[in-house]
């Protein structure tokens, strides 16, 4: 503290009253900070109430014996030692990873087109976002109409064209669920990537081309690196959505559940193994939170660069 009077131009500008000395300016800054913190308070409170506290309760319950109430890590040991649980967790991760990669790759050209052609964007965006507005149950039913073995559009067309001799029974297996997830995920990816690509100045691409780069090289050297934050954000969102998805796996589940949420729901609702289900839910939440936190870390590092 040098004792020199400091003037906060921004606060002066906002209030319209010139600061008389450093104390007033500090007081004003403190008030502003308090104001913004108060504004954030409702959202923080709701998050604390509906997310943090229930999750904390889940963790506590998952560490207590369902019958005696004694502290025990046994539900975590049982879950991670159960071959069916770990196998289903791995198929869930594989599903989420695959859906994320495919939907980002499929959505990128569409997003690029919409970012560069504003008129096309006006027409395409509402059409593309329709699936996002549909409940997952409806998406699941749409998949039945598309993929049903005998009456589904896809099978009928392929059989009529002679490309298939017998219909594919993929609807109630993992491919049916993967298609349903990808259908929803492409929309998320297209929405996020379009926003990011709009902010990439097209003149940068033109500059690269004028310096001798091909269109493809300018895409990989200029556009792709600049849109990486969007790719990271979209990937994290899609991955966590798929890992925790419940409606589509239930609608399109055959005999064997491929998604972990179905296993947890069975333990919780049917088998009444509530504390075991809590432990499994905590493990899945850790996975989802870990991916989100990792994405945030990557984004902040990318931002610093």
């Amino acid at each position: 503290m040098s004792g020199v009077t400091t003037i906060d131009p921004s606060s002066a500008r906002h209030s319209g009253i010139p600061p008389r000395d450093g104390t007033v300016a500090r007081l004003r800054r403190r008030r502003e900070r308090l104001f913004y913190r108060l504004c954030a308070l409702p959202a923080l409170s709701i998050t604390l109430l509906v997310a943090a506290i229930p999750l904390a309760l889940l963790i506590v319950q998952s560490l207590r014996d369902q019958e005696t109430g004694a502290w025990t890590p046994s539900y975590y040991v049982r879950s991670l030692g159960n071959r069916f649980f770990t196998h289903t967790l791995l198929t869930t991760i594989a599903m989420a990873f695959g859906v994320t990669a495919i939907s980002i790759m499929a959505a990128f050209p569409l997003a690029y087109l919409m970012a560069r052609k504003s008129r096309l964007r006006t027409v395409l965006m509402p059409v593309v976002t329709v699936p996002r507005m549909l409940p997952f149950v409806v998406v699941g039913y749409a998949m039945i109409l598309l993929l049903a073995p005998i009456t589904g559009v896809l099978n009928r067309v392929l059989v009529q064209l002679g490309l298939l001799q017998h219909p594919l029974f993929i609807l109630f297996g993992w491919p049916g669920q993967a298609l349903a997830f990808t259908y929803s995920a492409i929309v998320v990816a297209a929405g996020i990537l379009t926003g990011v690509l709009i902010s990439v100045d097209p003149q940068l691409e033109d500059a690269a081309i004028s310096l001798g780069a091909s269109r493809l090289r300018s895409f990989f050297v200029v556009t792709l690196p600049l849109s990486t934050p969007g790719i990271i954000a979209a990937s994290a969102l899609i991955f966590t959505t798929v890992v925790t998805a419940y409606a589509i796996p239930v609608m399109l589940s055959g005999r064997v559940p491929y998604m972990i949420s179905v296993v947890i729901a069975t333990d919780l609702l049917t088998l009444q193994e509530t504390h075991l289900a809590f432990a499994q839910a905590v493990l899945v939440s850790l996975l989802a939170v870990g991916v989100t936190a990792g994405a945030q870390l990557l984004l902040s590092r990318y931002g610093r660069r």
Binding site: I150, T151, G254, V256, T270
Partner: protein
């Protein structure tokens, strides 16, 4: 058992006396209590047939009571699953909010020693009581507190294109029908347990030996569950109740679905080209009880009249109009042709006890755990 019965009758008598009722006994003549008829009655009506029927009976019942007692009693129906009504009743006891309850047989039996109910048989003449199906009364074992109302029969609903090709429960595992059969998962709905009983029937397994003193003998039951697992591997999907069976049959995706007889008939009436197959090993059936009257009702005359009205010819006619063909006709009452066809062709195997054990609190989790291990996880 006799002591219990007497105690219950005395309990009912006591509660009615406390309400200022003068006549209530198990004499040879029907003895309706002579309390004042109040204009309002609350009936917990369950779901499905029972609630549909109850809603349709509200108006005619008001007319009936006006003619008989000069009071047009309005019945307020409360829809909800039987387990929920049972929990509500026990929580609210001794001041339950309902006068009449639609409950599962086992709940009624659990309530008898606790003096929860008024005895229906005492409000009927012996001649009236004799018109109820005797074997159904024995199967229900509710000791005269309720009468049989309907039957839940589990059959195979088969596309007409497979006429005469499907005859047995074992066809659910027939590789000729790979990916074209469905049946409910026990992890999702109660009807899923019937598939286990069907597999036991196919294997000739004695399921009564699986249950003893709260312990479920998983090793004895395992071969039957493995049979269900084989069927599950042959299935297009394991369904989650009627809502998921019907579309698959209508679209022709499923050729064979294990389903309720009643739902199969309604599917036929809706125009789906299906027929009912009564498997040669037997049709699995459970008797559904009619409503029961709370012993704490303030309106016992109207409550007992409501229950009797539920079992009346008027109710049967309305059930026919609703295409609810699984209502059990009383002796001397005309039955719809669907019922006659059913009784002529179906060899009935009663599974009330099996359902009560598998769905009851003593064994349910153990049964489901084995189902999850063997049928779902394939362990």
């Amino acid at each position: 058992m006799k002591l219990t019965r007497r105690a219950v009758a005395q309990g009912a008598l006591g509660s009615l006396t406390s309400l200022g009722l003068s006549s209530w006994s198990g004499s040879s003549r029907a003895a309706m209590p002579s309390a004042k008829v109040l204009p309002h009655l609350v009936a917990y009506t369950g779901t499905g047939l029972q609630t549909d029927l109850a809603d349709k009976l509200v108006e005619p019942f008001a007319q009936h009571m006006k003619t008989k007692y000069g009071v047009p009693v309005h019945v307020q129906t409360v829809v909800g699953q039987s387990p929920n009504s049972w929990v509500a009743f026990q929580t609210e006891w001794p001041n339950p909010s309902g006068d009449v309850y639609q409950l599962y047989n086992e709940y009624i039996r659990q309530g008898i020693p606790k003096r929860y109910w008024l005895r229906l048989q005492d409000a009927c003449t012996p001649e009236e009581w004799a018109t109820f199906n005797k074997s159904a009364l024995v199967t229900m074992a509710t000791d005269g507190y309720t009468a049989p109302l309907s039957i839940s029969a589990y059959v195979l609903v088969v596309q007409d294109s497979l006429k005469d090709l499907v005859t047995s429960w074992a066809d659910l595992g027939n590789p000729k029908f790979k990916n074209r059969i469905t049946f409910d998962s026990a992890l999702s709905v109660g009807s899923g347990y019937d598939a286990i009983a069907a597999a036991a029937l196919v294997r000739g397994a004695d399921w009564t030996k699986w249950f003893a003193h709260g312990k479920f003998d998983a090793s004895a039951a395992r071969p039957t569950f493995e049979e269900v697992a084989r069927w599950a591997k042959n299935a297009l999907t394991l369904t989650q109740g009627s809502g998921s069976i019907s579309p698959l049959l209508r679209r022709g995706e499923a050729l064979i679905s294990a389903w309720w007889w009643q739902n199969g008939l309604q599917e036929k009436l809706a125009g789906t080209p299906v027929h009912i197959v009564y498997p040669k090993e037997g049709v699995l059936a459970a008797v559904d009880t009619g409503p029961v009257v709370s012993s704490k009702t303030k309106n016992p005359v109207a409550a007992l009249e409501w229950v009797k009205f539920f079992h009346s010819a008027t109710a049967s006619k309305i059930a026919d109009q609703l295409h609810e063909f699984n209502l059990m006709p009383r002796e001397g009452e005309p039955a719809p042709p669907q019922w006659d066809e059913f009784t002529k062709n179906a060899h009935i195997v009663w599974i009330n006890q099996f359902r009560e054990w598998t769905l009851g609190p003593d064994y349910n989790r153990q049964v489901l755990a084995l189902y999850n291990d063997v049928v779902i996880q394939g362990a």
